[in-house]
């Protein structure tokens, strides 16, 4: 086997390289040749191909994602913005919080347990590499049709994988979502969020500066994980035989990751780290090129020093390997001994594989020969950017015209019909209790969990002495977004924003995971363009900047794309977690108020899905000023003790939220339809900008006056009482019957 050195590449310009098999387009390959002024070596081609992939370069989405920067609202809270491993937000008292949401969709379909597990591992490493201690995770999940046999394979595996990894890592899982829809059948969405906390002075960035500083690779040994492409390179060009056997699935080792967390944080505390980068997609290719290009520019690495799990790996494969649980740190030479000692203390393998140089080249050696000699910026940042064509789908108008009006879709009218519709809704798989899933996640570990699912947002105490805390909620509604991508993504943002405020926290910042079909389909690309435009405009108006996130494209089977599904995470801060607002209506005699305005808005609603399997019309209208006002009221009411419980209204409408709060608190409700509203619309409409709250009688006047002065409609709709949910003059539903309908649904599905 001949080694394709830089020298060899210069001397043999005409050797054909398998650029197409590595996923590069011809013009991309020609651009690489132009950048280098020669043909790339096999190793260089490996690096460019993986770093210029859709996944790493965001080449289809970049032109649209720029809006998150261009339209970013002025925010004093932003300490580190888009572009780093994760954004960092100031939450006061010298604390900074970093959070990010990412997708691990396709791997979770191939091997649900390991795919979901390694998704948790990857996002947690992003958080560690900012210098933060991870404090919680969340997992928004979307599966195919509940009754499809493959859902029985994917769902339990994904849930066990998230639990198996996160529980073993010692991170509380405090929220997320579980949604079923046939559109996700071959493309389940497994999104993972992690949040970490640090002091301002502990923020670390991915950069390698200071000539002579050492590059240390530490964590798991490198195996042949996730390198299908590089194997083609190795076999076809350099060995001529069959491809080496390489694993299609990466296995996560949460124990190794736990050691990596403790070891990295101890090195940070001892001030031993100049720059740091986790190894995820594109492995060492990504870590070396990003560290070098974000620093002074020069780096030299020796691949012979990389600890291997499989010593048959070629240098191209080592560069592309996506073996999990690895990190790369830049350390000053005089501190290297102390750094390695900390790794040894935690039983973590650590090896110096190179150093920062004076120059501006990334040079990589194998057996003493130079096999990579590139400007690292061209690998990491100068990837192709596409202006993909897009146009409004031909079917969009017909879809929007198919509105769920009373004439088109039969609505329940009598008390008995309404009662049956309520039971059907709360017992439907998307609205049912999810504790079969969430009870497989540890929500207690670390001893700072103030709120966890099914609360509106997860809440974590940041400081034990001051009770400072953060709250996070994730939301997305593919049905709304399909009907109107611009409004749909804003509704996801508004819902997460509202959920954070409902628990008493002030929304500060956003991370997003944009799950879509193929960007090569102009209609999908239109959905993407509209959704990003909506999200950027919404963030600007709400004053919550996007700090980072992830794009997952090609979620489609054949020509059938998933519903466009932007999942939005909102992070908020609460000065005193003892003032948090839970969702449970637990105090008999308290008054129930509906905040906001209810209109006949059932397009994309849960009722339309459950009762008629219908998706059409327009999603609810959105008034972002109203959302801001509602949030301010909810936060003020929490701070000043005017409300004891709050629950946002979203899919399923008022009755879904009311039943959830009643069941959680173990108390019944007597509800009255407000004047001028149709009972059906009152119960099932999904108008945005609404919440229900439970108000102690002693606070009623103060609370309603505040709402009146601020101009937020607040309607008294009932009282917490007894052990039934009653809609006056219409129906009575015992809590026991509601609980029976609402629980055990997921278990029954999987049985």
């Amino acid at each position: 086997m001949t080694l394709d050195t830089v020298k060899n590449a210069s001397e043999t310009p005409d050797v054909a390289l398998p650029w197409a098999a590595l996923g590069l387009k011809e013009d991309e390959y020609l651009k690489i040749r132009e950048i280098l002024g020669r043909r790339p070596t096999g190793a260089e081609l490996a690096m460019y191909s993986v770093m210029w992939s859709e996944h790493c370069s965001y080449k289809s989405s970049k032109v649209h994602l720029r809006q998150f920067g261009e339209k970013a609202p002025q925010s004093d809270a932003m300490l580190v913005g888009i572009g780093e491993n994760a954004g960092v937000v100031d939450v006061g008292q010298g604390y900074a919080v970093t959070f990010k949401i990412e997708s691990h969709n396709h791997p979770s379909y191939v091997e649900p347990y390991q795919g979901a597990a390694t998704g948790v591992g990857g996002i947690v490493r992003d958080i560690i590499s900012m210098g933060a201690r991870p404090v919680a995770v969340m997992d928004p999940l979307r599966f195919g049709a509940p009754d499809h046999p493959d859902t029985k394979r994917v769902l339990p595996g994904v849930v066990a994988g998230i639990g198996g990894y996160g529980n073993c890592l010692g991170l509380p899982n405090i929220g997320g979502e579980v949604v079923f829809d046939a559109c996700y059948q071959g493309n389940p969405l497994v999104n993972a969020l992690a949040v970490g906390v640090m002091k301002h002075e502990d923020i670390h960035l991915a950069k390698a500066s200071g000539a002579g500083n050492k590059v240390v690779l530490y964590g798991a040994r490198t195996g042949g994980d996730g390198i299908g492409g590089a194997s083609i390179l190795a076999s076809e060009t350099f060995e001529g035989g069959t491809p080496t056997k390489r694993p299609a699935v990466q296995v996560g080792d949460p124990f190794q990751e736990k050691l990596l967390i403790e070891c990295t944080l101890e090195a940070f505390r001892a001030k031993l780290v100049v720059g740091i980068q986790d190894l995820g997609a594109a492995g060492l290719s990504c870590a070396t090129s990003e560290l070098a290009s974000n620093g002074s520019g020069g780096m030299r690495c020796d691949l012979d020093d990389v600890p291997l799990r499989d010593n048959t790996l070629t240098p191209e494969e080592i560069l592309m390997s996506e073996s999990q649980e690895r990190m790369c740190a830049v350390v000053e030479p005089e501190k290297i001994e102390a750094f390695l000692a900390i790794c040894e203390k935690w039983d973590v393998t650590a090896t110096v594989i190179g150093e920062v140089t004076d120059g501006d080249r990334l040079e990589i050696f194998w057996h003493g020969e130079k096999i990579v000699d590139v400007d690292p910026r061209t690998v990491a940042h100068d990837g192709p950017v596409y202006e993909r064509p897009y146009h409004r789908p031909s079917w969009q108008d017909a879809l929007q015209a198919d509105a769920p009006t009373a004439e088109r879709l039969a609505r329940p009218a009598t008390g008995d019909e309404l009662r049956a519709a309520v039971v059907a809704l709360v017992g439907s798989v998307n609205q049912a209790d999810k504790s079969w899933i969430t009870s497989q996640y540890d929500r207690f570990v670390l001893g700072n969990t103030v709120l966890a699912m099914p609360e509106d947002s997860g809440m974590i105490r940041v400081d034990e002495s001051t009770n400072l805390g953060v709250a996070i909620a994730t939301d997305g509604n593919g049905r709304y977004t399909k009907l109107d991508p611009y409004t749909g993504s804003q509704l996801a943002l508004a819902e997460a924003y509202r959920n954070v405020a409902a628990t008493g926290a002030k929304p500060l910042a956003v991370s997003d995971c944009l799950n879509f079909g193929s960007p090569e389909d102009p209609e999908v690309m239109w959905q993407f363009a509209e959704a990003t435009r909506g999200l950027a405009d919404g963030c600007l108006e709400l004053g919550t900047p996007v700090t980072g996130g992830n794009v997952s494209l090609y979620n489609q089977t054949g020509t059938q794309a998933i519903h466009p599904t932007p999942v939005v995470a909102v992070l908020g801060v609460i000065d005193d977690v003892t003032r948090r607002t839970p969702m449970a209506f637990a105090e008999e005699g308290q008054l129930v108020y509906l905040l906001g305005t209810t209109e006949d808005e059932l397009g994309g609603s849960a009722w339309a899905q459950v009762a008629h399997d219908h998706l059409g019309g327009l999603p609810p209208k959105l008034d972002l000023d109203r959302e801001k006002l509602l949030a301010e009221i909810l936060i003020a009411a929490s701070r000043d003790g005017m409300i004891d419980a709050a629950h946002d209204l979203s899919d399923g409408g008022l009755i879904q939220a009311a039943v959830e709060s009643a069941l959680k608190g173990g108390q019944g409700l007597r509800l009255i339809v407000p004047d001028g509203l149709d009972p059906f619309v009152f119960l099932f409409s999904e108008s945005a900008g609404r919440a229900i709250v439970s108000v102690p009688r002693s606070e009623e006047l103060r609370f309603t006056e505040m709402c009146g002065v601020r101009g937020l409609p607040a309607t008294r709709i009932g009282v917490v009482d007894g052990d039934v949910v009653e809609l006056q003059g219409q129906f009575t539903l015992p809590l026991a019957e509601l609980r029976e309908a609402n629980t055990g649904v997921i278990e029954a599905l999987l049985a």
Partner: protein, 83 residues
């Protein structure tokens, strides 16, 4: 009753965190000279009737579709002798 044993092991190229943790612990307990450890599963199937080719084929199918996850695991089916 005859016994058929199915041994399930992670494929050689798949990371085995359990085996690695055991391997690292061995020298600490004074067991030197072990270069590698991989941990697997063993299933013992008590077969009713004769273990003929058809029975073995059925067991092979069970191993392939159920006992092993062939995305990440290999398996070996063998008849336990001496019963």
């Amino acid at each position: 009753m005859a016994r058929v044993v199915v041994d399930v092991m992670l494929k050689p190229e798949i990371l085995d965190p359990q085996g690695q943790a055991v391997q690292r612990a061995l020298p600490r307990l004074g067991f030197e000279g072990i270069a590698d450890v991989r941990q697997g599963k063993r299933f013992e199937l008590e077969v009713e009737g004769p273990v003929d080719e058809a029975a073995l084929a059925r067991i092979h199918q069970a191993a392939e579709t159920f006992l092993a996850n062939t995305v990440i695991e290999d398996f070996v089916v063998r008849v336990e002798e001496g019963q």
